[in-house]
């Protein structure tokens, strides 16, 4: 199991032919209490960098960008009813969408976990 990260604080976890997408613990700590999540529909396709979801804290709405291109094959249907899962378990139960990657080579441009954690230390 391999996890990749972006400097926009998303993570991509490869699981066989598909990948889960979420936001990092650092991202949720910056957002504060999440009160609403808007997820895309299954079947939607994203190019890398597209707005894939919206997460709203008490204060503000933030876009979540697709860290890689892909086809949405599942969404985390528990999130709309319990958005605080994103605060409690951002890098596990708080995943947003499952994608089939259409451009797997894009993963090469992402950070590995050690590089991402080091990047966060500089912020």
């Amino acid at each position: 199991m391999t996890v990749y990260f972006t400097k926009d604080h998303e993570w991509v976890r490869l699981e066989g032919d598909s990948a889960l997408i979420g936001i990092t613990d650092y991202a949720q700590s910056q957002l504060g209490d999440v009160v609403y999540v808007e997820l895309p529909e299954v079947g939607k396709t994203f190019a890398k960098g597209d707005e894939a979801a919206v997460v709203e804290s008490v204060k503000a709405a933030s876009d979540v960008y697709a860290p890689v291109s892909g086809l949405v094959i599942a969404v985390n249907s528990k999130l709309p009813d319990s958005p605080s899962t994103i605060n409690d378990a951002p890098e596990s139960d708080g995943w947003f969408i499952r994608l089939t990657l259409t451009e797997p080579s894009e993963l090469e441009g992402l950070l590995d976990e050690a590089a991402y954690r080091a990047f966060v230390e500089t912020l």
């Binding site: 926009d8 604080h9 998303e10 936001i23 991202a27 910056q30 957002l31 504060g32 209490d33 009160v35 609403y36 808007e38 919206v54 709203e56 804290s57 008490v58 204060k59 503000a60 709405a61 933030s62 876009d63 979540v64 960008y65 709309p80 958005p83």
Partner: protein, 383 residues
């Protein structure tokens, strides 16, 4: 995730800035100051804490000033020339909410005005104005005063708000005088021996106090109150959700120089005598709107579902025509869902009117509802 904007501007600090950092606050730029937006508790918990117990807020960024004249009637008339409030009838020790109005009937700022209970200070009115407006307010007031009345800006004062159902019980331990105060009254007293000016008021919809204190004493005072188990420090994030649930306007968002007090549903700030007599800036427009009804009105709006509608969201009628705009919106922790306020054309302002909000390009069903979203719990003395 999109990064939030940062600023390189030099920000002012309140006398409590060091304490905020020690308490783990996240500081953000607000109205030219570096202010705590939240503490480690988080905005939701801070909001709920204030509703259930007592929250301590640093509001030292707000402007404090004195209008000083030879006697009460002279000073009151000077303020009445700038606002639609009745200050001639303001009794010693009483606090009033009022509005500086433009000649066109818009709102320059909303402010609190206190007449001192101390006969030796007769002729002085104490003003508290919004942080982001103080320079504008002071210039406007100073330029429009009659001979013999001066504006004196208080430079060395901090302002601390203690808000929530346990605020009175907590403060009474340090200041027995505070317990008997009614809503919108003020006294000079001491808290743990520190000289203060206290008013029983606030901007959260809860019972509570605003405490004005010389800035060197602000930190010891804040620490003494924070040492009480009922008290937690609360940031601007929760202050905003509390005031929104209470249906209270935020200057620059819900009211500005274009909106009139009648449109803003602030009729309570238009004193009966002044409505009849006029003689304040914008009286023509305001009296006309009182007689004929305004073209648009500030209303409460409850979106269906869970998606919050933020400031700037378009409000449409059933036929899809734009009828207004959201001026404040978000998630109401006590209300248990999204809430908003905004302006709609008057014919759509009745509670129960269905409207559509446009949020990120999508239509969101919503309803005009009465405000406040959460009932006020101000302390009313029994007669």
């Amino acid at each position: 995730m999109a990064d939030s904007a940062t600023t390189e501007d030099i920000l002012l600090e309140t006398p409590l800035a060091g304490l905020h950092r020690e308490l783990g606050a996240r500081m953000v730029p607000f109205a030219g100051y570096s202010m705590p937006v939240q503490y480690p508790l988080g905005i939701l918990s801070e909001h709920n804490w204030t509703r259930d117990s007592a929250g301590l807020f640093d509001v030292s960024h707000m402007g404090q000033a004195y209008l000083v004249g030879p006697d009460h009637a002279t000073t009151a008339r000077a303020l009445e020339a700038l606002t639609p409030g009745d200050f001639l009838a303001l009794a010693p020790g009483r606090v009033r909410y009022t509005l500086l109005t433009t000649p066109e009937g818009g709102i320059i700022d909303d402010l609190m005005v206190t007449r001192s209970a101390d006969p030796s200070e007769d002729g002085t009115l104490y003003l508290v104005v919004n942080a982001g407006r103080k320079a504008i307010d002071y210039a406007h007031i100073a330029a429009n005063l009659p001979e013999g009345v001066q504006l004196e800006i208080a430079g060395q004062l901090a302002l601390i708000a203690l808000q929530g159902p346990k605020a009175a019980e907590v403060l009474a331990r340090h200041c027995p005088d505070s317990a008997a105060m009614g809503f919108m009254t003020a006294i000079r007293t001491t808290i743990d021996g520190i000289d203060c000016h206290i008013s029983r008021s606030g901007y959260t919809g809860e019972d509570g106090y605003e405490i004005s204190v010389v800035e060197d004493h602000a930190e010891p005072l804040a620490r003494a109150l924070l040492a009480e188990p009922e008290v937690e420090p609360i940031g601007l994030g929760a202050r905003d959700s509390l005031r929104l649930e209470a249906g209270l306007c935020l200057y620059g968002h819900d009211i500005d120089e274009a909106t009139s007090p009648v449109e803003a549903d602030l009729g309570f700030a238009l004193a009966k005598r002044r409505r009849a007599e006029g003689g304040f800036p914008g009286a023509e427009r305001i009296q006309g709107e009182l007689a004929d009804g305004p073209a648009q009105l500030r209303v409460g709006i409850k979106p269906e579902g869970r998606a919050p509608a933020r400031e700037g969201a378009e409000i449409r009628d059933a036929a899809g025509r734009q009828i207004g705009i959201v001026t404040s919106g978000g998630f109401g922790p006590t209300a248990g869902g999204p809430i908003a306020m905004g302006y709609v054309a008057a014919e759509h302002a009745a509670p129960g009117t269905p409207v559509t909000l446009v949020v990120r390009g999508k239509d969101l069903a919503a309803t005009v509802v009465p405000m406040p979203f959460v009932p006020h719990r101000y302390f009313r003395k029994q007669a």
